[in-house]
Symmetry: C2
Subunit: 310 residues, 2 copies
């Protein structure tokens, strides 16, 4: 079969992509996420949009291997979600419902962070590898762990919840999840901003940072050679590098892919992470690469489509 499709369900819009099974993205588009009435129109809208695209491109149904879908919630191995607050869903048998709307076409689904990792493995920074860990540094810290080409979903759909690895047993402030010392408290955009606030509140050297700097402000200042910003980035790197070292002895990936909003700072952030990783990595993991994500917002549709090829 020549084609597969990827769907990335988000709180504002649903992104869709049409791919050749060899990995060429032929077309991508978006439709609005209609969240009203518990999001009951979302899957029918997706189905209609897919059928319309196939019609428009004169692609026969039998040439489509299936539709993969990324969802902003844990998805179990049967394709069921318990609740997806962002789009209004309660309990929903997502793959069964979409498949019925598409006359029995094969449908697969996964958590959006895991699916993004599949995307980077297939067409992005993890191309050619089968063991990939993606770390998404956004408002929070998410992640996806790919082992031998398959996502780790886990018993409760919590596989790859990398942001809640404990990296500081002494932390007194609580993470959003209620725990203390989670990676997310130091390596998310919010966490970096908090590291910056703390650094500015104590005695410190002269700095271009002031007020309440964002993660972007911090890395911009690092690029400009600012010493305080460099110290903040060091602290970020120490926590993230240590977490990657602990991850490495458990799942032993070929490559760590760093994505999410914070990663837009660019290559400047890699050495901060690499330094601590090299210090703390088990000898067998020392050559594991740490690289920036390449697909940006397309990671979701790419990874979703890739689900169909397993």
């Amino acid at each position: 079969m020549r084609y597969c499709m990827g769907v990335d369900v988000g709180g504002t819009s649903v992104k869709l992509g049409l791919f050749e099974t060899e990995g060429k993205l032929l077309d991508k588009w978006e439709i609005p996420t209609r969240k009203e009435n518990h999001g009951e129109q979302i899957l029918p809208d997706v189905a209609a949009s897919i059928l319309e695209k196939l019609e428009e491109r004169k692609i026969r149904r039998k040439d489509v291997a299936g539709v993969g879908m990324g969802i902003p919630a844990p998805v179990d191995s049967e394709g069921v979600v318990q609740q997806t607050a962002n789009v209004g869903w309660g309990y929903k048998e997502v793959t069964r419902e979409l498949s019925e709307l598409l006359d029995g076409m094969r449908v697969e689904a996964g958590n959006d962070a895991n699916v993004a990792a599949m995307g980077e493995m297939w067409l992005g920074a993890g191309r050619g590898e089968k063991n990939v860990v993606m770390v998404t540094l956004g408002t929070g810290v998410g992640g996806g762990v790919i082992v031998n080409g398959h996502m780790i979903v886990g018993q409760h759909g919590a596989g790859g919840e990398i942001g809640h690895i404990c990296v500081n047993r002494e932390e007194e402030d609580a993470c959003g999840c209620g725990l203390h010392g989670c990676l997310e408290q130091y390596a998310s955009a919010t966490g970096i901003a908090k590291l910056a606030r703390k650094a500015l509140s104590g005695e410190h050297e002269e700095t271009v940072l002031h007020g309440e700097p964002s993660a972007k402000d911090v890395f911009d200042a690092v690029k400009a050679g600012d010493a305080l910003a460099t110290r903040i980035a060091d602290e970020f790197g120490r926590y993230l590098g240590a977490a990657l070292a602990s991850l490495a002895v458990v799942v032993d990936p070929a490559v760590f892919v760093i994505g999410g909003g914070v990663s837009k700072a660019g290559p400047v952030l890699i050495p901060f992470v690499e330094k601590e990783f090299q210090k703390r990595a088990f000898f067998a993991n020392k050559d594991t690469k740490i690289v920036l994500a390449e697909l940006g917002n397309d990671a979701g549709i790419c990874g979703a489509a890739r689900l169909i090829l397993n």
Copy 2:
């Protein structure tokens, strides 16, 4: 096919087991590990012993699905080891060589700690589950991570090296691997003995412990209600429980299986681990079970045989 065989290669003896593919252990036996000349006789000895057993039991070759093998070294996904100091091997294409000695019979191989985890999943404390993490508390700390019924081998065969998760960033003493603060430094038999030595060297309450107590002495004293021993067990539990909580957010198992020599202390050690795990576990992982291994020395042959059923 009705039968499969499991082989557990150790430094002193090779254990072998004959199983029905439904999981019944029909026979188990041992042969010495002949390590001389870089262990060149080990695989021929194994092959001869297998063929003899099939002959003895009048089992036809075509009724045997294959032979699985656990090896005390990293084994890559092609069944190759780079070096196996314990048995004298250098680079060796283990599965290919044994398969040739058995006239092309299917052979699979894995690291012994990973294979033991497969065994506990198939016939032991993880029965009925597909997502299992086994932690082996012996002289060191080893482990095996099973996701969806498959071992995580990893890019360098280092998957499941749980003993080298960092649980104490402040540790000044080095682990055998050269890193600082590895789980192995606190949760292995050696690690627990060291915690005991440190506790005894400072000021402390009256205790039945004295001299250089072993891990077994510590847990025996805990059973007898000794307060100092209970504090040592608490410390052990804090490190192991925290490591399991971090593992849980990454691979999200249904159950943690605790094995190895230290686990012979019995059910007494579970609450010490459980307490810290509950304190540090991500909400989705709170119901993950922590149980003792059930198969003892048979875990290796069981898990090796199970490799053939994937």
